[in-house]
């Protein structure tokens, strides 16, 4: 059925259609159309809304806009229309590389390129942030204060009593920076959503579903959030140093960002991920998802708390 609909797109004769694992909120399929290796990103059937996701048509438009700034993104081949029978979806070219954080941080294959990755990430973010806002699809704008308000409301709603979260909310609210000029943010720029090539480094920025407008330091802080280090000792994604990330950001044309502001958003990132772990555990507690994985993820909340204590102690 899906194969018939893809054939009807006239991209070439479709073969080897298979579902790739990963991607909780969107389906990812690989297939060949004639000689081309392609990827279909598709909203699952029967899913109404998508939480905070912006929608796949907007995603495709942002990827194309970021490409015009020179950001490495997968080439968009086709954005599906409702009458084409594929569903809410777009087709993109396959990009060679690796997204698994564990491999990027530890595998020998990435040893040579690893020291260059943090700088590249900074450059790529500068390019994304330089995207002109005129003509972009409508996106939510948020700053530190509104993010904190949103996550504190969720946390209070869960009725959890976690003193480190309380201290972190207070500390972050008291220091919430004012946003000067909102820029296009990827919104989920971290290991798992960045395709790295063992020789070329950053090959493509994927998964744009949490894109929004906001403080540029948010994207830089998120890739430094300790939860995405996969055992690596270095702060940027487990593979690089702050100085390289910030230098790359400036070299890419970004307005210089003080390290302190990145650390602020990194702290907010740990708090946000901690609350998200509690939300995911809640899907087990409510009976919506009975898997042991959902239950156990609640026990990863304490990881974010130990990271928060380390950050808050250093800042105090």
């Amino acid at each position: 059925m899906l194969e018939d609909a893809l054939n009807a797109l006239s991209l070439g004769p479709v073969s080897g259609l298979r579902r790739l694992s990963g991607g909780a909120s969107q389906e990812t399929w690989a297939f060949r159309a004639g000689e081309r290796e392609l990827i279909l990103r598709r909203k699952p059937d029967g899913v109404v809304g998508g939480g905070n996701a912006i929608g796949l048509d907007k995603e495709a438009a942002l990827i194309q806009a970021a490409a015009r700034q020179g950001a490495p993104v997968p080439p968009i081949v086709h954005v599906c229309r409702p009458d084409e029978g594929v569903g809410e979806a777009y087709v993109m070219g396959k990009v060679e590389g690796e997204t698994l954080g564990r491999r990027i941080v530890r595998d020998d294959a990435f040893a040579a390129v690893r020291p260059r990755l943090a700088r590249q990430c900074g450059e790529v973010l500068a390019h994304i942030h330089a995207t002109p806002l005129e003509g972009l699809p409508k996106l939510v704008t948020s700053d530190a204060a509104s993010e904190l308000e949103k996550y504190e409301a969720v946390y209070r709603g869960l009725g959890a009593k976690r003193p480190i979260f309380e201290a972190a909310f207070r500390w972050l609210k008291d220091r919430a920076p004012t946003m000067e000029k909102p820029v296009l943010l990827h919104g989920d720029f971290r290991n798992g959503n960045i395709m790295f090539h063992p020789e070329a480094g950053v090959a493509a920025v994927l998964d744009w579903e949490l894109a929004h407008l906001g403080d540029p330091a948010e994207d830089l802080g998120w890739i430094c959030t300790a939860s995405w280090r996969f055992g690596g000792a270095k702060p940027v994604g487990g593979f690089g140093d702050y100085e390289d990330l910030l230098a790359g950001y400036e070299a890419g044309g970004g307005k210089p960002i003080p390290l302190e502001r990145v650390l602020y958003w990194q702290t907010l990132g740990s708090l946000k991920w901690g609350v998200m772990c509690l939300i995911m555990y809640q899907t087990y507690a409510s009976g919506a998802d009975p898997s042991v994985e959902r239950a156990m993820i609640g026990r990863r909340t304490s990881e974010t708390e130990i990271d928060l204590i380390a950050l808050l102690e250093k800042a105090a």
């Binding site: 694992s21 009593k161 003193p163 008291d174 280090r229 042991v292 156990m296 026990r299 990881e303 708390e305």
Partner: protein
């Protein structure tokens, strides 16, 4: 209390069964979930072993910090309120020491291999 087998022995037996007998026959997501299940049992095991002492120590620290008696749950809720209002902060060395000791104990139970634990304990 029944001590033969102890609860720890039962957990070890189930972990052994999953790892040696069940997991090798599973693939993909089920194989992944079997690993998560073993991790969950290992956390329960550590909680049985170390949880009561950790909570006793936390309760003692909270009594000293807040200056009155009470059980862990009430004292912890009071600490949460005072941190939320800003009446207590991490600048208070007693507060910082309590939060740090508590979270180290908790991560030792939940995820003892987490890099952030080694970073904070200097290990």
């Amino acid at each position: 209390m029944i001590t033969s087998p102890t609860s720890l022995e039962l957990i070890d037996a189930v972990i052994g069964f999953i790892e040696q007998r069940a997991a090798p026959q599973l693939k993909d997501r089920d194989a992944f979930l079997a690993r998560v299940a073993v991790n969950a049992l290992a956390a329960v095991r550590r909680e049985i072993e170390f949880g009561p002492a950790a909570e006793d120590a936390a309760t003692s620290r909270l009594r000293a910090l807040l200056g009155h008696d009470g059980d862990f749950s009430d004292l912890n809720a009071e600490l949460c309120e005072k941190l939320a209002s800003g009446e207590l902060t991490l600048k208070d060395p007693q507060v910082a020491a309590h939060l740090k000791a508590s979270i180290i104990d908790q991560v030792k139970i939940d995820q003892p291999n987490y890099a952030g634990l080694k970073a904070l304990t200097g290990g």
